[in-house]
């Protein structure tokens, strides 16, 4: 089903699931009140289906999880950060299209 492959992350899970993972991860920092975040939701779900086993496609609700966004100085959403080996490979803010996100994911997969 649409969205089944998107992992919804919490602050508590972030380090283990993203920073210590062997697989690269894309984290979509979002909130329910943010129109552009809602608009890219379906794109994130499609990417999650297409990158199974290659890149972990994840979302983090910044209202419920304030620690991780604070750590990365996120004050604008949607912000999408691509992690590999605990490091930031790339990041982008705004309602970007699928083509641009695929270009970003090419850096790791």
């Amino acid at each position: 089903m649409a969205g089944d492959n998107v992992k919804h992350l919490t602050d508590a899970e972030f380090e283990e699931y993203v920073l210590k993972s062997d697989l690269p991860s894309l984290v979509d920092f979002w909130a329910p009140w943010c129109g552009p975040c809602k608009a890219i939701g379906p794109v994130i779900e499609e990417l999650a289906d297409e990158y199974v086993g290659k890149v972990q496609i994840t979302k983090m609700n910044v209202d419920d999880n304030p620690t991780t966004p604070g750590k990365y100085s996120i004050r604008a959403i949607p912000t999408l950060i691509l992690f590999k080996g605990g490091e930031i490979i790339d990041q982008v803010t705004g309602a970007v299209g699928k083509t641009q996100l695929i270009a970003m994911l090419k850096k790791v997969a």
């Binding site: 552009p36 004050r75 309602a95 299209g97």
Partner: protein, 309 residues
């Protein structure tokens, strides 16, 4: 008539593009809408819309465009995600070249590429974008709970969003370069009555400063006096500039700011090329006339196409 991929291509998926798509799809044209990001355009960043008819209680920007997109989809409007980097209008066939290298051809083209927020072009602005500098109150406002922030501008967007931001911020200071606002009266009345909104008149922001995030801004008034004020956020809402980088402006006809000139039927100087919405040279940039122009452009395209056959 030479063969093309589509009869009509619509470039951009904001209210103008989606409405043009709705009309063209209902007219059973072979039509494609190409959108660089996600459909919706600037409406997506609008928190609340009280002046689009048919929604007596008002509507959020994202819900309105979701409904527009769903309505076009009901008539099977084909859409594609892609970034058009060049448009070739030298032939009777209009050719669009995408960033991916893919080429798309059509007989008629409607340009609805819209506009994006204008920048101040001052020190610290780019450096702190996303770290205190914002162009979207509805996206970023909630990060400023109980903080003191600045809104730069005096038009509808600036004043409406200043009001919106008081839901979160302890204090919102509007900095405007003139001594009166350009915003609609009802928005002005609400802002003046709001205890959390202050105004600094006849002043420009000249620098945005801080360590890792925005901490203060430097202002200069019309007498040349400078002062610093503390702020953790600066919302820059000073109008828009056209998304015209991929357009052959000279051939199409543009005004001094780079917006496309058209006639009353949305036709540019190039036969078969229309423009609608915020990319057009005009004085009023509202969702309602963007959508209306999309409809007119679609009908003009139908007339053009039927003249070809």
């Amino acid at each position: 008539m030479a063969k093309t991929d589509y009869q009509l291509i619509i470039l951009g998926g904001g209210p103008a593009g989606l409405t043009a798509g709705l009309y063209a799809a209902r007219d059973r044209l072979k039509v494609l809408l190409v959108e660089k990001g996600v459909v919706g355009g600037q409406v997506l960043v609008t928190d609340w819309i009280d002046n689009y008819p048919g929604f007596p209680e008002g509507v959020t920007g994202s819900e309105l465009v979701e409904k527009m997109a769903a309505q076009a989809a009901r008539f099977e409007l084909e859409t594609k995600n892609g970034n058009v980097v060049k448009i070739n209008l030298t032939d009777e066939i209009k050719k669009l070249i995408l960033e991916s290298g893919e080429e798309l051809t059509c007989q008629a083209l409607i340009i609805c590429t819209g506009a994006r927020p204008n920048k101040l072009g001052i020190a610290g602005e780019d450096e702190f974008t996303g770290k205190g500098v914002s162009y979207c109150a509805t996206c970023d406002g909630p990060f400023y709970r109980d903080q003191e922030i600045l809104v730069v501008g005096g038009g509808d967007t600036a004043i409406q969003e200043a009001e919106f931001l008081t839901k979160f911020a302890r204090k919102v200071t509007v900095v405007h370069r003139r001594d009166t606002l350009r915003a609609t009266k009802i928005l002005q009345e609400k802002a003046f009555a709001n205890e959390r909104i202050d105004f600094i008149w006849n002043s420009n922001v000249v620098a945005i400063e801080g360590e890792k995030e925005v901490e203060r801004v430097k202002l200069r008034n019309i007498d040349g006096e400078e002062k610093e004020i503390a702020a953790s956020g600066v919302f820059i809402l000073i109008g828009t500039i056209p998304n015209n980088e991929m357009l052959p402006l000279e051939k199409l006809g543009a005004d001094e700011y780079g917006f496309i000139k058209t006639d009353d039927d949305m036709r540019t100087k190039v036969p078969g090329v229309m423009a609608a919405g915020d990319i057009r040279s005009k004085t009023v940039r509202q969702i309602i006339n963007g959508a209306g122009e999309g409809a007119v452009a679609a009908i003009a395209s139908e007339h053009y196409l039927s003249g070809l056959n």
